[in-house]
């Protein structure tokens, strides 16, 4: 599996410069209004979306055909993609945290983000960003396997509404059950977000494996 991860990193390294440049531009645009917290989210989501680009490179070079003659299984290939997704999200978060913290010092001198954003600690924000970006990214993997990156890209955008819809449905359900949603309750939910994210990623991994096992190369 190491070879698969290495291949994705080598492939994407070509795009890394432009991605970091975009993130720097976003720092100027978002830090004054969204703070470090919002910026970490932006970086994590954008970096996690690069997983679709790795599929695009693979399709372009017909890589899966070659990968399958190497001593790796189809499950290894899918697992490799999930590992790369996690790594991309983590890189985005670290970048967001470092650049955001440094940039925030400058931004604070002429603008401050709203109090409700500023009250979230950057570390909690990083944890949340990791959960959300991997959840979003994990949906794009089975879509790219099933439909290819051309169609998949459009569906990925649509699929971003799936977790949002699930969260909204959960909120409505809790309200209907008469559970009082306090600030402490929300904070607890946010801290617990890696657990549903992990579960979601596992389900998506299993789905991706099932789709890839069926796929003929």
């Amino acid at each position: 599996m190491k070879s698969l991860i290495l291949k994705d990193f080598y492939n994407i390294s070509h795009n890394a410069k432009s991605m970091f440049l975009i993130l720097l531009v976003f720092a100027v645009a978002f830090l004054p209004t969204s703070g470090v917290q919002g910026y970490i989210f932006t970086c994590a989501i954008l970096c996690s979306m690069m997983i679709v680009t790795t599929f695009s490179f693979d399709e372009h070079s017909n890589w899966p055909l070659y990968a399958m003659v190497m001593p790796v299984s189809k499950k290894d290939i899918v697992a490799g993609k999930y590992f790369v997704l996690f790594a991309f999200s983590l890189i985005g978060i670290i970048f967001g945290l470092v650049v955001g913290t440094a940039g925030n010092v400058i931004a604070e001198s002429f603008s401050r983000p709203p109090e409700e954003i500023a009250s979230i600690s950057p570390l909690l924000s990083a944890l949340l960003a990791l959960s959300f970006s991997t959840v979003f990214g994990s949906i794009s993997i089975p879509l790219a396997i099933r439909f290819g990156t051309e169609k998949g890209r459009i569906l990925v955008l649509a699929s971003f509404f799936i977790p949002a819809g699930i969260c909204y449905a959960a909120y409505r359900l809790l309200t209907a059950l008469g559970i009082n949603i306090t600030e402490d309750f929300i904070t607890a939910l946010l801290y617990a977000s890696p657990i549903p994210a992990l579960l979601w990623n596992y389900i998506m991994y299993k789905l991706s494996c099932a789709l890839f096992l069926k796929k003929e190369l």
């Binding site: 291949k7 070079s61 070659y66």
Partner: protein
Amino acid sequence: MTDAILQIDHLSKQYPGFRLDDVSFSIPKGSIMGLIGENGAGKSTTIKAILDLIKKDGGHVSFWGQELSSSKQIKEDIGVVFDGINFYETLTPAKIGKISESAYMQWNKKSYQDFLNRFQLPANKEIKSFSKGMKTKLCIAAALSHSPKLLILDEATSGLDPVMRDDILDVFLEFVQDESHSILMSSHISTDLEKVADYITFIHQGKVLFCKSKDELKYRYGIIRCKTELFHTIDQSEILACRKDDYQWNVLVADKEYAKRKYRTAVVDDATIDDILLLYVKGDYKA
């Protein structure tokens, strides 16, 4: 054929409008098997089915008596080269070496470097600037550097100039000097197979028409060139395939010396693989 490295029995695969039908052949140790047929005959489908890249509808494939899925070690012992490179264009040979090194336990760094030097491939140049020949050489270098015992080549020499093809064919001949090594090589360039193959398997419309030693085809098969009157006197059981040109009949027979003795007024020529392929594809043959 005994001591088979690769044994294929009754392989079948159905696609809309195409069927790979009951394909069987085996590759003995120390030999090169040429898989020949026109475009769309089923050569690549056969190779994909052999490598488990597509699901077989039926049949059985074994490498050294084992199924491919039974052990990762089997894949270590198989080197594969497809038509075209399967690495993204911004990679370099050095990076491909590192990727392959992480994939194969048997990866031999020195051997890979030696191949890069021998093929004059710059280690740190992006492969998008490589010619088709250089890309093929790089694929062959990668395939040979994990010490495989079986090399599977799917149209690996197509699109290369004769000099480049000759260089590459020499590498294949060196590879089979070790008698535990074998090559399965699909190509529609019959001259390449005439140069290196020990056996020829001919696939036409998804079916194996024959699997014979190259020497048998080269030294025993012949083509009777004759007029219609003589054609009608030829024993039907002796005709493998035939085709009528504007002025004469071309009849493929399995024993040219016998044909020369029997049909003294006819011209009996040697049959090249191209001649055989053309007669089967464009003429009539006994199924």
